[in-house]
Amino acid sequence: MAEKEITLMKGNEAIAHAAIRCGCDGYFGYPITPQSEVLETLAEQKPWETTGMVVVQAESEVSSINMVYGGACTGKRVMTSSSSPGVSLMQEGISYLAGAELPALVVNVSRGGPGLGTIQPSQADYFQTVKGGGHGDYRLITLAPASVQEMADFVDLAFELAFRYRNPAMILSDGAIGQMMEKVVLPPFKPRRSEEQIASECPWATIGRKGGRKPNIITSLELRSEEMEIINLRIQAKYREIEKKEVRFEEYMTDDAEYLIVAFGSAARISKKVISIAREQGIKVGLLRPITLWPFPSAKIAELGSRMKGILTLEINAGQMVEDVRLAVECKVPVQYFGRLGGIIPEPEEVVEVLKKMVK
């Protein structure tokens, strides 16, 4: 068996390489720090000469997401990437994608806000992502990578989930994972789907009504309230199915744990260091890392929470996911939050101090 090729690259570069390798048909993006390497890597790789993947630098994030919408209508694997302020601009388009039930991938390499904020890493877009930053009752399948390897692996997974459920998917990363270099094994090459495959797998796609079939019309508009309610109920039923089937998480040292840290992405990596220091000092603590932020691993947290003395959420924001953790355990366990703001990454030692106070 051939050995897997290990390369060293940034998280943003891994996104670009993974996109080319997983049969992505089109990327539409606009530069913004700290994610610009995605578009730069694609431009440098020239996939239009190899796989035939289209790469367009748009005039704005508003345009990017609407290019993604147009491309998604054709049943192709299309994506964009941006960082927090740019993703804010995309919210209308994301709502349209969800409303029209279109599969697409949006990558957010998030940075500190609000406003223009900072270019340093942050997890402050949790609410925007999982509570619906755009208008209307919709959900975004959200994957939170904690390593460069997961940046690469989640591109194909996000597309698979997006197409399985005809719903946009988000990779919610941050400036640390986007910018840091790590070892990565890139996914194997997978060919782009042929037009015939798309026509059969996506019978809804607007690719021209070949063979005299009925026209396909993609819209999120329905002026009759009774009809619109039926559409909404159908979409909600799909969301319940996703919540049932697609929850993903990682458990770390929870078997004997008396305390639980819940953290995702970069904060989960820091948490592992926290756990090693805390355990040396006799605090039995474990980690639950949600990989899908929506659907959220509420049931798992409730189950673990029932045998914990306390839960700490570590977030690089002002305390957003903590609300969902409290809901999950229905306040039967004390849940505390710790985090840093403004683009500052929490130090493991300061988190250990918080744990020590919890234990007292």
Binding site: N66, G70, Y96
Partner: protein, 256 residues
């Protein structure tokens, strides 16, 4: 004679284009949209592109264009149709891709998408219905509303001190390197309709030949919000719109 005998092929002098769906239109009687829909339907059929056409409808009166022309359609967010069209045409280069947009959609909220799609030279056609008003939302001032013209948001007439000037986006488009064919047409009488049809055909053909982006503006009426009869609206358009929005080709690089 029976009805069947009367409608025999050799007796027909005019019929509804096959691609125009046999459904009631929501457009007001006298509106220009129906005529332009008919022309697009005819041109697509004459080019044999029924199975290869993708239309992008706007937000505005023409939001339901997808109900009327029997091809695949995508309904865009307000102003973003050229962004959708860009992606569709890049992903499916052998398809006929066009947007159908009003003045509020194209020349106001979607100015950025319009200018940049045109300037990238995307091989698409933008059909631009300019009736100088927001029709669907009830007759508000548009970027193309003429000076002095009354709307519900400039009830005393458009005043440049308060509202700025009407935007000639088609003239701007003609200056862009990426555009191949930029023209301004109208559909108020048979002669104008035939010219407009030729312009749409030319734009569609250039887009299929990969010659760049194409913009066909149709100066139109909105008799409902202009509060005129259809006939009076056409007359008002000729007297007031045409001097400012002059008809004809602004650019034709198709044979260069």
């Amino acid at each position: 004679m029976t009805r069947e005998e009367i409608i025999r092929e050799e007796n027909l002098v005019y019929k509804k284009p096959e691609l125009l769906n046999d459904v009631p239109m929501h457009y007001c009687p006298g509106c220009s949209h129906g005529v332009v829909h008919k022309l697009i339907s005819e041109v697509i059929a004459e080019m044999g592109m029924q199975e290869k056409s993708i239309g992008i409808s706007p937000v505005g009166c023409a939001v339901f264009a997808y109900k009327y022309i029997d091809i695949d359609w995508e309904e865009a967010a307000h102003g973003r149709a050229p962004a959708l069209a860009t992606a569709v045409k890049r992903l499916l280069p052998d398809r006929l891709v066009f947007t159908y947009q009003g003045d509020g959609d194209l020349a106001c909220i979607g100015t950025g998408e319009t200018i940049h799609a045109l300037n990238r030279g995307e091989n698409i056609t933008i059909i631009f219905i300019n009736n100088a008003i927001y029709g669907m939302t009830g007759g508000q001032m548009a970027p193309t509303t003429l000076l002095g013209m009354k709307t519900v948001t400039c009830p005393y007439g458009r005043d440049p001190k308060l509202h700025g000037y009407p935007l000639k986006i088609t003239e701007i488009a003609a200056t862009l390197e990426g555009t191949c064919y930029v023209t301004r047409q109208s559909v108020q009488n048979v002669g104008a309709i035939l010219k407009a049809k030729r312009a749409i055909r030319k734009a569609f053909e250039y887009s299929m030949q990969g010659k760049g982006s194409n913009l066909v503006e149709i100066v139109s009426t909105c008799n409902t919000n202009w509060k005129m009869t259809p006939e009076k609206a056409n007359q008002w358009m000729e007297e007031n719109m045409f001097p400012f929005y002059q008809l004809g080709d602004l650019k034709d690089n198709g044979n260069k």
